[in-house]
């Protein structure tokens, strides 16, 4: 078990190191000179301005020198300053991380919970009206573009269409200028979160439901289920004590992989609802070619996925001894 653990941790570290190096070069080979982009379309621009800006940003150094500085800085937790705001990258990310964790975390939990329930019941009563209905719904939810659904939700529930009343705010994290505190602030944030949360929950739900359903179907055909029935157990017992625990294994991987992506946020949904999270930050950083910020963000996203993968691996080994042995 210790060897298994050490091996997995080593693998994760190796992946992380690769990501670190890859990150740096990825952004340097992207087309487009950030300085020219920053200044394009502005008046009073001279070659001198460009030179100043380039020096201010450290872009006049040779590439290997930039890489050494970057590696040392990353290891010491110094991610530099954003090219566009001048604020520390860690501060930029720090202020955006909680809205994303809140939104994507809440919808991941809700969609996993509901999705698994739907999958379990659909799979258990395969071919029933509930199964057909939920399958159809899951497929639609799974395949539909999130941002498109988000815009529909926005148009219907924020602006109000037909019999839908205009209830919720169109975007943002809180009401600007309202200066709410305490419980009123919590309610304000919940109101702002309602629409993006609804969109994400519906969008994620389908995947969980479909995977859980097929997993249940797989397990239902196993011998131990037949044995359980032969022992005379009630259907509910066969389902909850024998089938579900075994069928949950593949969904654990999915859940932890999804948790890893929590940090990357839901880029398109944050964009549609102006939710000030990491996804939105990523979009603006890409638009503005904000290298330091993008590097830190991508590192964070990769690290989150790697760490949660590691946790899933370890948990798997705990839940299913066969994995350890193999």
């Amino acid at each position: 078990m210790r060897r298994y653990l050490a091996g997995k941790v080593f693998q994760a570290l190796l992946t992380l190191a690769f990501v670190l190096a890859f990150n740096f070069f990825l952004f340097r080979v992207m087309p487009g000179d950030p300085v020219a982009l920053l200044l394009r379309g502005t008046s009073a621009l001279t070659a001198e301005t460009v030179r100043d800006l380039r020096r201010d940003l450290g872009l006049d150094q040779p590439l290997p020198q930039q890489f050494l500085t970057y590696s040392a800085d990353t290891l010491t937790g110094n991610y530099g300053r954003s090219l566009t705001t001048g604020a520390k990258v860690t501060e930029e990310i720090g202020s955006r991380i909680w809205p994303t964790v809140l939104l994507v975390g809440a919808s991941t939990i809700a969609s996993a919970f509901l999705g698994l329930l739907i999958g379990i019941h659909g799979g258990w009563r395969r071919g029933s009206r509930f199964d057909l209905g939920s399958m159809g719904f899951s497929l639609v939810a799974y395949s539909m573009p999130e941002f498109w659904f988000g815009i529909l939700v926005l148009l219907a529930l924020a602006g109000g269409v037909g019999f839908f009343p205009a209830i919720f705010p169109t975007g943002g994290y809180q009401t600007p200028g309202a200066d709410l505190t305490g419980f009123a602030h919590v309610v304000d944030v919940l109101n702002h979160m309602a629409l993006p949360w609804l969109t994400l929950t519906v969008a994620y739900l389908g995947e969980y439901a479909l995977i859980m359903r097929s997993s249940i179907l797989d397990v239902m055909g196993e011998d131990f289920v037949t044995t359980a029935r032969a022992k005379g157990l009630r259907e509910q017992q066969v389902l909850w004590r024998h089938t579900v625990p075994n069928a949950l294994l593949p969904t654990i991987t999915l859940t932890f992989l999804s948790l890893g992506f929590v940090f990357a946020g839901a880029i398109t949904i944050e964009y549609v609802f102006s939710w000030p999270g990491l996804g939105l930050l990523t979009v603006t950083a890409i638009d503005e070619k904000d290298f330091p910020l993008l590097q830190a963000l991508f590192l964070l996203f990769s690290a989150a996925v790697i760490v949660f993968n590691l946790i899933a691996d370890l948990l798997y080994a705990y839940l299913d001894p066969r994995v350890r042995a193999g």
């Binding site: 001198e48 709410l180 979009v283």
Partner: protein, 615 residues
């Protein structure tokens, strides 16, 4: 057992039902008398520091919080005294003595003096403030001998600083704040700011909003609003919905179709106004064929035919700007000609007379090319270069670049391509990111491209871009003159207008420069796009178009609207935009309770189902 689930949900909703109302409809949360004007757009400010901000967005905040030496008139963008009340120009035209106001107070209570202006102009120049330094090119020194006098000296005689036009677009900053950041002013974010105008920037949440508060020491006319909030959205649909729902009072929209969807909505007025902006189809006038000069080395591989003004003129003749406005801009906007847009300081724009205008004329363009020797010798529909030219026999096949992030450039391409085909020029259209296009322009590896500019109201800056010395010099370095236009006569006139003392004479030179640039046709100015605005008629009134009669309703160049905006129906009828929307706290508690009850019931049901047989 599970079948009971839907019934439970229904029960939860029933319980919550009577309180399911919007928060703004119920008894108000503690409401003070604050009157807040809220407007929205889909643009993030680049910076609030005048040292490095470069987007139109931040100018609104600067205009409300700072003074310019001379500001822009609301009706025609002409000169209006702002901090400077009187200007004396020395006879040789190199010394400018300004008398400045002594009744202004910064929002932190410090008086505003001549020293602030001298400090600001000096540090803008010394520390290379991105935009402001361009207006200080001829400035040699700025001093403040006393509290109400500023003396500015230039290296050459000029009329630019005479106060006859709002040339110095340089917001005056408080020395007592910025002197602490004098070493690296670009590092200072300037939030909250200390302002001399009626408002100052109080708060900024990136991606969310900017909030301005009243300057308690403002001595001018009392504004009718207490606060201004700028809401930042990421797409036009969200802006439009927020306006419809009353979350914002005023909106800027970018896309014509979203704008069209707001027309006829109750309590919403829509308004199209021109801004100083143009779109152009630029041609590589010879990056690879021009003589080395100063820092400039010939580079790139533009098509040699485009070095010939006759070919460029034929291209211009083949483009129907009117149809582009109709089909691409959905009828909004104005067909383009000169690089000085209709919105600029009075008298600056030149318009071609009937005899000067290069008309849309496919036949005429064909004839022009035929006479110049560009004939289709092999009968494939594409003309070839004449004998004795740079590359005899080379077919007129051009690369034409558009931008993936600017739909207008993509939409216009099929039209332009087919018109060019009509005159025997084949264009291959490629869409790319603006970043990559920028690189191609610096490298000179293009023939045609579609982009745009937003010039200042004063024409100096945009005219300066097309001097020979502003060409990208070496294939790697940025230069404004992206068409590689180089005409010594144009350069001579540029220097002359800059150092011409009589304002009227200067305008005449500026007209001549535009005429030459138009004739030489390195840019085919396609159209002048408008700005789309919409506002709620039940909230605020007092908007003023800048310039009149149909420009920017928030007067982005000056602070006029900050002082004239007022709630419809007096101060009591204040807008409710800052009131929180959504469902009330009670409903949320109800929902939370319902979820908990649901989970408990589910677990009980499960446990019973599983354990029954065990008993």
């Amino acid at each position: 057992m599970a079948r009971r689930l839907p019934a439970m949900i229904a029960a939860t909703l029933l319980f919550a039902g009577p309180t399911l109302t919007t928060a703004s409809a119920q008894s108000p949360t503690p409401q003070d008398e604050t009157i807040t004007f809220v407007y929205g757009d889909s643009s993030e400010p680049s910076s609030f520091s005048p040292f490095k901000g470069y987007l139109a967005t931040e100018f609104y905040f600067w205009a409300w919080s700072y003074h310019l030496p001379i500001t822009f008139a609301v009706d025609d963008l002409g000169a209006v005294p702002d901090f400077v009340t009187d200007t004396e120009v020395s006879e040789d035209g190199t010394t400018f003595t300004y008398t400045v106001r002594d009744d202004l107070v910064w929002s932190d209570g410090e008086p505003m003096t001549a020293e602030d202006m001298a400090f600001t102009l000096n540090i803008y120049k010394e520390k290379h403030a991105y935009l402001p330094q361009g207006y200080l090119g001829l400035v040699e020194s700025v001093e403040a001998p006393d509290d109400t006098t500023v003396v500015l000296r230039t290296s050459e005689p000029t009329s630019l600083y005479s106060g006859a036009a709002p040339y110095m677009y340089t917001y005056i900053l408080p020395e007592h704040v910025w002197s602490d950041h004098a070493d690296a002013p670009k590092q200072y974010e300037n939030v909250p700011s200390v302002g001399s105008g009626p408002f100052f920037i109080a708060e900024y949440e990136r991606g969310q909003f900017v909030r301005m508060e009243r300057n308690p020491h403002w001595t001018g006319p009392e504004p009718h609003i207490d606060e201004m909030i700028y809401r930042i959205f990421n797409n036009d649909d969200a802006v439009a919905e927020a306006l419809k729902a009353g979350e914002i009072d005023f909106a800027y929209i970018d896309t014509p179709n979203v704008f069209n969807s707001l027309e006829g909505e109750p309590d919403i007025e829509t308004f199209v106004g021109p801004i100083p902006e143009f779109d152009e189809l630029a041609m590589n006038a010879g990056s690879a064929y021009q003589e080395p000069e100063g820092a400039f080395e010939p580079h790139g591989d533009g098509h040699p035919a485009l070095t010939d003004p006759v070919v460029r003129r034929a291209v211009r003749m083949a483009i129907n700007s009117e149809e582009l406005v109709e089909r691409v801009q959905l009828g909004y906007g104005v067909p383009g000609d000169s690089i000085i847009p209709p919105v600029s300081i009075a008298g600056a724009r030149w318009e071609p007379s009937d005899s000067e205008r290069i008309p849309w004329d496919i036949e005429g363009a064909n004839q022009l090319l035929e006479e110049a020797g560009y004939t289709d010798t092999d009968g494939d529909g594409v003309r070839e270069m004449p004998p004795g030219s740079l590359e005899p026999g080379r077919p007129l096949e051009l690369r034409y670049y558009t931008q993936t992030n600017d739909q207008n450039t993509i939409d216009a391409a099929p039209f332009i391509r087919s018109w060019l085909e009509d005159i025997g020029i084949r264009a291959e259209v490629t869409a790319m990111s603006s970043g990559r296009l920028g690189n191609e322009l610096n490298a000179g590896t293009y023939d045609l491209f579609h982009w745009g500019w937003i010039p200042d109201p004063d024409p100096d800056a945009i005219l300066s871009y097309f001097q020979c010395e502003q060409r990208p010099p070496d294939g790697r370095t940025y230069g404004n003159n992206d068409a590689y236009y180089c005409n010594p006569e144009y350069d001579r006139l540029y220097v002359e207008q800059r150092t011409t003392l009589d304002p009227q004479e200067r305008l005449e030179i500026i007209h001549e420069m535009q005429r030459i640039f138009y004739e030489d046709a390195a840019y085919a100015v396609l159209w002048y796009p408008p700005t789309f605005q919409a506002y709620r008629t039940d909230r605020f009134t007092g908007y003023q178009s800048q310039p009149a009669p149909e420009g920017d309703l928030l007067s982005g160049y000056s602070r006029d609207v900050a002082l004239s905006l007022r709630p419809v129906g007096g101060e009591e009828g204040a807008g409710t935009s800052t009131q929180a929307r959504g469902i009330s706290a009670g409903v949320w508690v109800g929902i939370a309770a319902g979820v908990v009850v649901l989970i408990v019931i589910l677990m009980l049901v499960r446990r019973r189902g599983v354990s029954e047989d065990r008993a």
